[in-house]
Symmetry: C2
Subunit: 439 residues, 2 copies
């Protein structure tokens, strides 16, 4: 099988420089031979051809993707995904479907330091190849030579902390709820209350950007005025992430509206806007980027298709996300705690000196989830982001914000929240309302 | 259940103006009540809140998404997708999972005419809600009031045909194979051969954009010179789609390089680049946009998750795709012929006067597939796009191109290809090499 060195340790046996290659690991399933399937993928996604062209041998040498290793892991009696060759709902045939992990090395000279083009290579046409009945990109190993061409997050954990002057505990944040339908003034009113309660961070809902009923420019004015008042009273800063999601050529304009109006953070729904838009914004931004990942589970949640959330998180950090959603421990979302912790690791791991993205824990969060989240994280470098857990507190947003800060303070002193709640009414009311404390 | 008018005909029973709403149809599956699940989706994706805020009633009235109809279709004894609440691989519990179709109306005042923001609303956070064990957006019904704010394709079928002067038959096209690794001159050489053979259209592979080994500017020069020579010999034009995929702020620069160099078409990998990037390019472009959909099956191929290809195709047309990939009939990709024909219908259907996108049939195409494709399409308004079917022809690209034109000519005269092949050697050799003719 040309180009396939299956089962080998490629660094020993293949005459190629690791610095020139990105190694992609895939889950593959096929009714044919697994090694041939891996080879077909490598060929299709690089120098695929049926013909002889002068000089092709040399081009294939430099530009061809190579199968590094194929590890068969099992067989199934029916396909994980439907294809025209194995329609869903049909009775299982006598066929078996082999599945396993294939590692494939892609020369990064083929696409250069461009995320959309990297994705087209390692996660493009391969998903529609009828010959595969499962195909999922599990991980990417990126050499420093490739990573060094991405600036990555401009602020990251350290930059976000410095802007706030908070260094030794998780940040307390909230998503304005409700957001859709409120005008700038109404929204600024509840933001003021939450900031008075001690939040470090507040953000637009992902559903709000620059609509006619709440134009971004007016919202920046109203919110920054409200936060200024709150800061005078509390002596603490609150960062606000304004959503600048729009079609690509509008994003930088919206960023400028935010920063010119005194705004301290911008938010991008970077999956619906595109990785390329996040990269663009990261090169331009003067404030941290809060990266919201709505839509992503459409291509990560199937066990048989798309990308792992770990790869997705890694790419998001490389693209320049300063603050990055990673799901929630014991949350209301679909990911298991193990998957969430893999996402956190992708934010924190060493990546050729790229700044770390601040993990944002979000999805069903409230005061009672602080102890468990902090314990499982194992460090305080994350943003605890509530929605209803602050704005739905029975005594209002200010009390909701206080309940989160009280939970963080108690946990940092290794006190049980139920004990701290004895003389902290906001925390007590939060526990009563949102349910049991998780440790 | 507030906000839910399940099982009703909303246009009669709900006091709202259809022009103000987008109707989204979802496949939903849940271990709870299906109508409650639909209501939770509508609330989460619009005015979701746990709290009372002054004026909220009015905001909810104008901005809340509403469940229009829920049709339960069946039950399953295990979840279609894993969640933290129903991990994959566990023995099925006593639970049942209900599934069916929910129609939900979203006020478009919430996001305005912005595709990334539309997606965040109708296809955002909902995919990660642990309460759903299947969630797929099946269709979007878009009122003219919303559509009228999108220019759509600038050229479409008619514009593409006019630039080529070809009106009464499918267009014959090819993807340069191999593409990765060739320099500008080598690539221009085989493009020249294929153009001499009579192709209407040739394009970059989606894996080639503006890499160091084949810079776009040099490629434009070399290819346009080669096409000029071919046109002088054949008297026919060949359009070439240059791939301008890059991070968002580079795309328009690359477009300008193409057009300033005399290029006649630009190509965008618009899924990895983002819908917002396609929309941006469509507002700016001076030549047709060839929209390449690599990556999309990552969120369309699962029967339980993501978007239907029909919705995806509709959105691509609205974003401004002049030529749009729709899979291939009897092709090598995963989609069934019925799904492919739904995509074609989405290119052609009446959409408030938006131009039609030219369907691009691609994936395992060669001369022998012309009769079946044309018959199933039912009209000649499409681009028959081969890769190996032209560049892998045993007698080279010029012969490959001729074989496609010969197949189109024979089919337009209702002749069987085997008969036409008696005195047309390129067609005969194609049939011998690529296998049987499909009718």
């Amino acid at each position: 099988m040309p180009g396939c060195f299956c089962g080998s340790d490629w660094s020993v046996l293949i005459p190629m420089d690791k610095a020139d290659y990105i190694i992609a690991s895939y889950l593959l399933e096929t009714d044919g031979d697994l090694e041939e399937a891996a080879d077909a993928l490598a060929t299709e996604q690089s120098t695929g051809t049926w013909t002889d062209v002068p000089g092709e041998g040399e081009a294939r040498e430099r530009h061809g993707a190579r199968v590094v290793k194929v590890t068969k892991q099992g067989e199934r009696d029916r396909p994980s995904l439907p294809t025209r060759f194995a329609p869903q709902g049909e009775a299982p045939t006598a066929r078996t479907y082999s599945w396993g992990v294939a590692e494939i090395a892609f020369p990064h000279i083929n696409f250069g330091p461009r995320l959309p083009n990297l994705l087209s290579a390692v996660a493009g046409n391969l998903f529609e190849m009828g010959a595969f009945t499962a195909v999922k990109l599990l991980d990417l190993e990126l050499p420093d030579e490739f990573l060094s061409r991405f600036p990555g997050p401009r602020f990251g954990i350290e930059g976000t902390r410095e802007l706030l002057g908070v260094f030794d505990r998780p940040l307390a944040g909230a998503i304005v709820k409700p957001c859709v339908g409120l005008g700038p003034r109404e929204l600024a009113d509840i933001v003021y209350q939450a900031a008075r309660g001690g939040l470090d961070f507040i953000k637009d809902d992902e559903l709000l950007a620059d609509p006619a009923y709440n134009p971004l420019e007016d919202r920046v004015d109203a919110v920054m005025e409200a936060l200024g008042r709150a800061e005078q009273e509390t002596g603490e800063k609150t960062m606000y992430a304004f959503n600048v999601t729009d079609r690509s050529d509008r994003i930088l304009e919206l960023h400028d509206i935010v920063v010119d109006g005194g705004g301290t953070c911008v938010m991008l729904n970077y999956v619906t806007a595109g990785f390329g838009a996040l990269r663009m914004l990261a090169e331009h931004t003067r404030v941290p980027i809060h990266a919201h990942r709505d839509f992503f589970p459409a291509f990560t949640r199937s066990p048989s298709l798309g990308l792992s959330t770990k790869v997705f998180t890694k790419l998001s950090r490389i693209a320049g996300a300063d603050q990055l959603h990673i799901g929630a421990l014991a949350g209301k979302l679909y990911e298991t705690d193990d998957e969430v912790l893999e996402n956190v690791a992708a934010c924190m791991a060493d990546l050729d000196g790229l700044k770390r993205s601040m993990p944002v824990s979000s999805g069903g969060q409230h005061a009672g989830k602080v102890p468990l989240t902090w314990r499982k994280m194992g460090h305080p470098d994350y943003l605890h982001l509530s929605g209803g857990g602050v704005f739905g507190h029975p005594d209002g947003p200010e009390a909701g914000a206080r309940s989160i800060r009280q939970a963080i303070a108690a946990t940092s002193e290794s006190r049980r929240l139920e004990d701290a709640a004895q003389d902290q009414v906001e925390l007590r009311r939060a526990i009563e309302y949102f349910g049991e404390v998780l440790y």
